[in-house]
Amino acid sequence: MAKIRHPKDFFAGLMFIAFGLGAIIIGSGYPLGAAARMGPGYFPRILGILLLVLGGALSIRGLRLEGAKITLESSRPLIILIGSVVLFAMTVSTLGLVLSSILLIVVSSAASKEFRWKEALVSGVILSALSVAGFIWGLGLQFSVWPTFIGGR
């Protein structure tokens, strides 16, 4: 078993291989057509094969060249940030813009090492008010502002 010497190259290669395989497998159901009359499956097939080749080359290089390790120190902020956006998406149509904005601000603030409850809440309320003023009154976007289950719009 060869040793992974350059993890960044090696895993990037694997990632491209995965995307390439995905494109070929999912795209296998699309008609290929011929070179003169390409079907919807022709171009994705080319891209998939290219990704396989390039990804393969990268992975092999990752086994031979030396390179720095992958550090994962920022995975906590990542989970919190992505989580807060997903939470926003889940709540915005039912809870309304006001509450889901505050939720996003408070949760995402926790990604910082200097997180303070009070400060996050205050800034959440202010920014939520600003977004209602800007996006709904200012730009006239059609959002629900208040929770739908207590009769809000």
């Binding site: 008609p31 990704l51 902020p77 977004s131």
Partner: protein
């Protein structure tokens, strides 16, 4: 002369109160995000893309353009006063700008940066005006084979001039192309890679990819950095540079403008590369290279002129050929498609008011910036004292609302979150996201032109090599690829990017 009537038309469009207002908003917003580290023009424009839906096309483009060149003005302020690049393209300005500030010449450095940018902006706009007509005429001669080869050349160029691994950059472009063709195939009406999600049959939005991969990734990277704002508290006594500084800054600004204008047009170029290259050039031609890094005024004038010149000239390939040379221009393609405008040579003939109006607005915007920027510096500096822990949740919120507002669809927000995660993975694996965005925008175009060219040639792939224009471009692309393999060029390429990181 035609030129004058075009300009008259352009200024007629740009001087309407609405468009002046949008130019001003764009410039101020651009300066703001330029000053603030941790958010760049790509994320901002991506965030605003959905919002421009309800704005007239010309006004929307005027505002978005203003953000790009406004950011070049703002970025230098943070570099000079805080020794932190407000904008990646102002990173090299830190080296000498901050040293000038420490010697009490902050005012002079800011003034040189602003005036240099203004000069470069004017030249860049003039170049755009001058090259627009001939380039468009050339582009109208292009058939599908030529377009295909041009796009290949553009993408190869983007890879060669970007920094980082060549193999990864090419892979990222192809991945971008793949993302680009998600959705309904125009020829057969078949939904591709939509995973049964109805929203995906319309394709992935430019905003979702850009906000996710650039915006979220920028926040994550900034969060892992330590906050050490050390704003200079000395009063800005005099903004005027002294005579010796002026004498040294003027030729540097001219050199910076030249190199910036050239690099802006090249695929993969743009403001970032231009400023790095200009700094390297200044250091090489200077009679006093030992002063660089210790407060040489050329080290401010050159790069700051270069990045603004490049910001302007990078519009040339976009507006005349319809090919975006960098990530910001890729987003401009997104902005035009939202308004049902296909960027390319036909824009100038079918929509002259849009083309010349945008151009005239750039000059007006530059004028606004140079007039407004210096008096407002005090305010921008105050903004820097807002801690990042309050800033990034706000950025995140506006990004999310912006994406959601495009079609009131939560699927779009989930997609953005997914791309945010991908952006993190890309950053960890050192895969540059800019080529991905370029490929994404070009994906449908590339496929369409490949299909048409092959249809016309009845399936004969040699068509790309038998048509002279197409062959020339493919040869150029091959030459660029050879260059990068050549060790000498490779070394200079790496050096060019290391200057600012040191």
């Amino acid at each position: 002369m035609d030129f004058l009537s075009h300009l008259a038309l352009g200024f007629g469009v740009a001087f309407t109160p609405v468009n002046l207002l949008y130019a001003l908003i764009g410039c101020l917003l651009g300066t703001l995000i330029g000053v603030l580290p941790g958010i760049g023009p790509v994320a901002t424009i991506a965030m605003l893309l959905p919002i421009t839906y309800g704005v007239p096309t010309v006004s929307a483009l005027i505002m978005l353009a203003g953000i790009y060149y406004g950011a070049q003005y703002g970025g230098s302020t943070t570099s000079i006063l805080v020794n932190l690049p407000g904008e990646a393209s102002s990173a090299v300005t830190c080296l000498d700008g901050y040293q000038m500030a420490r010697k009490g010449r902050a005012g002079a450095a800011l003034c040189v940066a602003a005036l240099g940018s203004f000069f470069a902006g004017c030249v860049g706009t003039l170049l755009l005006a001058a090259f627009a007509v001939p380039m468009t005429e050339l582009a109208l001669k292009f058939g599908p084979a030529e377009y295909f080869s041009l796009m290949v050349l553009g993408m190869i160029g983007a890879v060669v001039l970007a920094h980082g691994s060549l193999l990864k950059a090419v892979s990222m472009i192809i991945l971008g192309l793949l993302f680009g063709i998600v959705g309904t195939d125009v020829n057969s009406g078949m939904a591709r890679f939509s995973f049964g999600i109805p929203e995906l049959t319309d394709g992935i939005g430019t905003g979702q990819i850009a906000v996710g991969v650039f915006g979220f990734a920028e926040i994550l990277m900034s969060l892992s950095r330590k906050e050490t704002h050390d704003v200079l508290h000395e009063k800005l006594t005099s903004l005027m540079p002294n005579r010796q500084e002026v004498r040294r800054a003027i030729p540097a600004a001219i050199r910076g403008t030249t190199i910036g204008s050239l690099l802006g047009v090249l695929p993969g170029g743009g403001a970032l590369l231009a400023s790095f290259a200009a700094y390297g050039l200044e250091k090489r031609v200077s009679k006093r290279p030992q002063e660089f890094g210790k407060g040489a005024v050329e080290g401010v004038a050159g790069p700051e002129s270069a990045n603004n010149a490049a910001a302007q000239t990078s519009f040339i390939p976009l507006l005349t050929l319809g090919i975006p040379p960098n990530a910001v221009m890729a987003l401009m393609v997104g902005a035009m498609t939202i308004h049902n405008i296909q960027p390319g040579p036909q824009v100038m003939t079918s929509n002259p008011g849009l083309f010349w109006g945008l151009l005239a607005s750039m000059w007006i915007g530059n004028l606004m910036l140079v007039v407004l920027h210096l008096p407002l510096i005090g305010m921008w500096v105050k903004l820097l004292t807002v801690p990042y822990r309050l800033l990034y949740p706000a950025i995140l919120l506006f990004c999310s609302i912006g994406v959601y507002s495009l079609s009131n669809s939560t699927v779009d927000v989930y997609m953005t979150a997914l791309f945010g995660f991908m952006g993190y993975v890309f950053a960890k694996l050192e895969c540059e996201p800019a080529p991905l965005l370029l490929g994404f925008v070009l994906g449908p175009l590339l496929e369409e032109n490949l299909r048409r060219a092959m249809l016309l040639s009845r399936g004969d792939p040699t068509v790309f090599f038998t048509r002279p224009l197409s062959l020339t471009m493919l040869l150029l692309a091959g030459f660029l690829l050879l260059l990068i393999v050549a060790p000498q060029f490779r070394k200079t390429r790496e050096e060019a990017f290391q200057e600012g990181e040191a």
